[in-house]
C-alpha cells in the first residue's frame, strides 16, 4: 500500500519541500551589489526588513489592500449567495455555476477587461462623457482604486463559492419559520440567517484575504507602478533587482503571515463552529 504513495511523495519532495527549504536557505545569504550572492548564515535580511520603515509601510498597505478587497468581495458575493439560497427556481443551479464561472477565465484576461472598462478612454469614462457628467476622464486605473475594483472582481467568485457552500447546508425552512413567528425580515436576517452563514463567511474571507495578500497580476497591471504588494515586491526584487536573498526573505515573511492567518482562522472557526 505504501508503495502507492511513492510517486506523489517524490513530486512533493522534489518540487515543494526542497524548493521551500532552498528558499529559506537563500534568505540567510547576503546580497552583494549588482545581484551577486555571498553564501552566509545571517539574519541581516530579516533585521533589515523589520527595521526598514519602507517595508513596514509596504506590509501595512498590503494588509490594508487585502482587508479592503476581502470586505468588498464579501459585500458583492453575499447578496448573490443569499439570493441563490432564497430563490426557488430550476435556474438556481445554472446561476450558481455562472457565479463561479469567471474562475475558469484567467486573471490576466479579467484584469485586461478592467483596463478596458476603467481606463481613461474606457467604457465608464465614455458613458460619463456621453451623458455630460465629466468633461475630464475620471482616473480609475494606475492607482489604488483600480486595483481594489479589479481584485474584488477577481476574488468574488472564491467568496461566492464559500458562501454558496455554506448556505447549501442551511435549511430554507428556518428563515420561513422565523418569519411565520412574526419576526421582521431584517430581524430574521440579523438573528437567524447571518449567524447561520457565519462559517461560510469566515471561510470565504480567509480564502480572499490569503489570495489578495499574494495577488500579483492585478496590482501589476492596474497599479501604475505605485501600488506595492508583498507579491509585486518579491517579483521586483527577484527578477528586476536580482536581489534573491531579499526576495527570499520577503517570501518567508509572507509564509509566516499565511501561517498566522491560518492559525487565527482555526481558532475562530472552532469558537464559532
Amino acid at each position: 500500500m505504501a508503495a502507492l504513495l511513492v510517486p506523489a511523495l517524490a513530486i512533493v519532495a522534489a518540487a515543494f519541500l526542497y524548493p521551500v527549504a532552498t528558499l529559506l536557505r537563500m534568505s540567510l545569504n547576503e546580497a552583494v551589489s549588482g545581484g551577486a550572492i555571498r553564501e552566509a548564515w545571517t539574519i541581516a535580511n530579516y533585521v533589515g526588513f523589520f527595521t526598514d520603515s519602507f517595508y513596514l509601510e509596504l506590509t501595512g498597505s498590503a494588509l490594508l489592500l487585502a482587508g479592503t478587497v476581502t470586505l468588498t468581495s464579501l459585500l458583492v458575493a453575499y447578496p448573490i449567495a443569499l439570493f441563490l439560497y432564497r430563490w426557488d427556481s430550476p435556474w438556481r443551479g445554472p446561476l450558481a455555476v455562472l457565479t463561479i464561472s469567471p474562475l475558469l477565465v484567467s486573471a490576466v484576461v479579467r484584469t485586461y477587461g478592467w483596463i478596458i472598462i476603467l481606463g481613461d478612454r474606457g467604457a465608464v469614462n465614455s458613458i460619463l462623457r456621453g451623458v455630460g457628467l465629466a468633461a475630464e476622464p475620471i482616473r480609475m486605473t494606475n492607482n489604488w482604486i483600480g486595483v481594489v475594483v479589479g481584485l474584488t472582481e477577481v476574488l468574488t467568485p472564491y467568496m461566492a463559492l464559500a458562501l454558496i457552500a455554506g448556505f447549501g447546508r442551511l435549511d430554507r425552512a428556518v428563515e420561513e419559520a422565523a418569519m411565520t413567528l412574526g419576526a421582521s425580515p431584517w430581524r430574521t436576517f440579523v438573528r437567524v440567517t447571518l449567524p447561520l452563514s457565519l462559517p461560510g463567511i469566515m471561510l470565504g474571507c480567509l480564502l480572499c484575504f490569503v489570495l489578495a495578500i499574494s495577488s500579483f497580476i492585478t496590482p501589476r497591471l492596474l497599479g501604475g507602478g505605485r501600488v506595492f504588494t508583498l507579491a509585486t515586491e518579491i517579483y521586483e526584487q527577484s527578477m528586476l533587482n536580482l536581489n534573491w536573498p531579499l526576495a527570499a526573505t520577503i517570501s518567508m515573511v509572507m509564509l509566516v503571515m499565511f501561517g498566522v492567518t491560518l492559525v487565527a482562522y482555526g481558532r475562530l472557526a472552532r469558537r464559532i463552529g
Binding site: 504513495l5 432564497r86 426557488d88 455562472l98 457565479t99 477587461g113 483596463i115 481606463g119 428563515e175 499565511f258
Partner: protein
Amino acid sequence: MESHGLSKPFVALVVALYVFLLSPLAITLAISFSNDPFLGFPPEQWGTRWYGVLLGNPRFLAAFQNSLAIAATTMAVGLAAGIPAAYAIARGSFPGRDALLALFTAPLLLPSIVLGLALLLVFSQLNLASTFHGLVLAHLVVTLPYVVRIVTVGLSTIRPEYEEAAMTLGASPWRVFRRVTLPLMVPGIVGSAALTFLVSFDEVVVSLFLVGPRLTTLPVEILRYVETRTDPQVAALSVILIAITVALVVLIERSVGVMRALGR
C-alpha cells in the same frame, strides 16, 4: 414582502452585482470585435480584423501548443501519481494518513509567487529552468493537491461494503478494484483531470519565473502582450479560449456533471 424574501430592490441589487461580476468578460467579448489599432470603448470601427491577426500570430500559436502539451502531460502524470496516493490514503490502514493528506494539500496554501521563486532557485541549479520537464514538474506541484483531495473525497463516499461483497464472492483484490472501485471513482477522476488540465493551462505566476527563450506558455505570452502593447488582439484570443473552456465544461457536465465531478 414577496415570498422567500426576494423584494424588488434586493433583486435589483443582485442583478447589478452580476453586471459587475461579469462585466470584464462581456467587455472583452465586445472589444474583440473592434477593428481599432488601440484599446478604447466604444470602438470607432467594428469588425473581425483582430481575429485574423491572431490566427496569423505564430508566437501565440507556439505558446498555445506548449501550454496544451504541458497541461496534457501534467494531467497524465498527475493522475498517475495522485490516484494511487489517494487510494492508499483512503483505503490504507497505516498511521499518519491525515498528516499525509495535509502534506499533499500543503502546496495549495503556498502563494504562487513564493512557489515560483523557490522553483526558480532550485531549477536554475539543476538546469531545469525554462525546460518542458521543469514546467511540468512545477505544474504538478500546483495541481497534485486537487487530484489527491478530490479522489480521496470520492473514495470516502464509496461504501466499502460493495468492495467487501465482491471480495466475499471470491473476486481477487485487483479484480475488485478494476470492476467495483474504479468505475465508482470515475466522476472524481474525470473531475480532477479536468481541473488539473484547466489549472495547468491557466497557470501564469509560477510559469512567469520559469519560462525562457525556447519555451513559453500561453498565459505568460498573454501577460507579456498586455504589458507591452495595447490592442484588441488579446481580447480575440480570450474569446477563443473562453469558448474552448465552455465547450470542455459542457462536455464534462454532459458526461458526469460538474458538481459531482468536483466532488461536491
